[in-house]
Symmetry: none
Subunit: 197 residues, 4 copies
DNA sequence: TACTAAACGAGACGGTACGTCGCGTCTTATT
DNA sequence: AATAAGACGCGACGTACCGTCTCGTTTAGTA
């Protein structure tokens, strides 16, 4: 039998990994073009050619699909910096994260964060698949800075993380002002001022 | 005859203030007991005795009703402090806001903030009816502090606001740790450390 | 001051004949262009500039307005024939009625007849304002024919009327075939064949 | 594998015959107790336990459901007569149809006929699912009578059908007089008088 | 010339039903 | 035995008319 033009998936049994990838791809496109709203299970199914039942076998709900899309993108696009100084590393990380959030994928993160509040299970999932590893990365930077004696000993690392990134998240979520690189620098400066020795 | 204060005389039967109030009351109850999810237009209509059509004449959608509920509560429950010092006022405000967010109504705010991201119109409305006035309150405190020479001149008030409340919002929205009064104090301390002279 | 015909002098502002006429005109336009469906009270009000409340003071419901429109048109457009023979008169009347029903106003009649079945009050009204006078006209023709000895004595006039016009109504209402003049003639011929001596 | 009788094998879950039947049953009850008015889609859904969405997948609107109810009843309750003579068959059929229309289901037919006029799509459906087969039955009787030489050759079968049943329909729809068996006989007699040789 | 009562336009109101959408589950035929 | 196709119950959406009900504004007749 001749292969189909365009490499369209064949129907039938041997398709599991392929179906998974097709869903992620279709979901990514929908999420980037129309946001979380547009990525309905029906739409993903129609676009990917994967049946709804199969999607529900791979993920518990549509939010979980979106979280997978986000986690994959974030890991790929925002690696940890190492500039040699705590101030430099932390400021650079704020800048990178801020830049990432300004992209369409960043907007997706805000939408997922939002979903979290209404749907606790999605929240747990988002934390597991995404947030925890990001916070852990900050803990590494902070520990490094502590060893170098660059930061205040009396400030908890969790509080520090909240302060450094909370302002950015706030801006991202509430949308009262744009999240420009300049703003990100100002925020990093002012926040670090209270955290460094 | 004197023209009405603030407007032309409207023709036709005026909107029923009673219906409006009944909707707000029913919505409040539903929001507090079941969150944003439970406050469907059908449910509000059934509980308030106000018809769906009327609700849709007063508000564009259910989110707008919830925003009105929130705005009313927040205005009533979180007045501006005046302790005599900038540090005191700002720290006290962070504490109050944080305490408010820990209540069921505060949880509602998080849910609305969430909705905002998915629904830009709701975002605009939330900013108009709620956020702008809260931020304006902070600006007043900041200006007072500037006059007293207590805060850094080179920090923009918008950045300061983001830092002071962003961390709280972050915690509220992402739910990685509980928002206790102690945490609120720590956050206020560390953040203010970077903002005061 | 002259006493009003048939009534006490009424206090207050008299009913506006102009409003009445405007409603009839707007309703006629709506009925002819979009049928009974389109002639909603809201639409009539908007088009005529007469308020809904006023319309409901002049008529009990929208069907009553349509009946008035129909009655006025029918009376104006289909007078009784007098050709000199029973066969001629009756056949001519079948032809005229049939031609009238083929017009847009005739279609309206079918729609009202239909409404009748669902809404008994409308049925009573339609019979009073419209049907009774039409049937009475046939009775006159029939009596004339009886005197001339042209029709069967053993056939009840009501039955005769049903047969003569029922076929046309059937066609009009069920729409299985068009109501052409030729068909009307054929129907008149075949039906009269069973009624004449 | 052998192709299915009358069609290609359909993919996916087949439509539930059970749901279909439940809708028909619930609709029948509602129609008989409260007429076309009472048979709203919401009510049918509630009574049958079948969701609105499913009902709308099986039928385009509520009128179509009622038409199916009617067609099923009529086919079951009014079989074609065969008395041996054309006069007998046709007269008997007029009597049977007339008796059927006098029942609550008959009243439903009138209401549907009514709906038809306002809603052309419903009209087409009613003709397809109901009227055409009834008229075909008459054509069979007429042909049989023609072969026996009992009816006039110069009368079209469509015209004959209109005359025989139009009077009954007229009475049914306009409600000017009751549709008694005696009247039905008189109508059959007078009408046939003009159609027989 | 006022007064007053009814009718008026504008439009809000409670109510009922509409037809649609998305969810997450299920059933059948296919491969 | 995993899939695609797609039907299903559920619940909510936002809209359309219905007929009723305020409002503030004419418009005549009455005092």
């Amino acid at each position: 039998m001749v292969a189909r033009p365009g490499g369209v998936a064949r129907r039938g049994r041997p398709r599991s990994a392929q179906a998974h990838a097709a869903v992620i791809e279709a979901a990514t496109e929908l999420l980037l073009s129309g946001g979380l709203r547009a990525a309905t299970v029906d739409a993903i199914s129609a676009r990917s050619g994967v049946s709804k039942a199969t999607i529900y076998k791979h993920w518990p709900n549509r939010t979980a699909v979106a979280i997978d899309v986000l986690a994959e993108r974030m890991a790929r696009e925002v690696p940890l910096p190492d500039t040699g100084s705590a101030r430099g590393d932390l400021a650079e990380q704020v800048r990178r994260v801020s830049a990432f959030y300004a992209t369409p994928v960043g907007a997706l993160y805000a939408q997922l964060l939002a979903q979290t509040v209404v749907d606790p299970e999605a929240g747990e999932l988002l934390r597991q698949r995404f947030l925890d590893s990001r916070r852990e990365a900050i803990r590494v930077l902070w520990r490094r800075a502590l060893e170098r004696g660059e930061v205040r000993v009396d400030v908890d690392v969790e509080v520090a993380t909240d302060i450094l990134f909370g302002a950015i998240i706030f801006r991202l979520v509430s949308g009262h002002q744009a999240l420009t690189p300049e703003r990100a620098d100002q925020i990093a400066d002012a926040a670090l001022h209270g955290l460094l020795r």
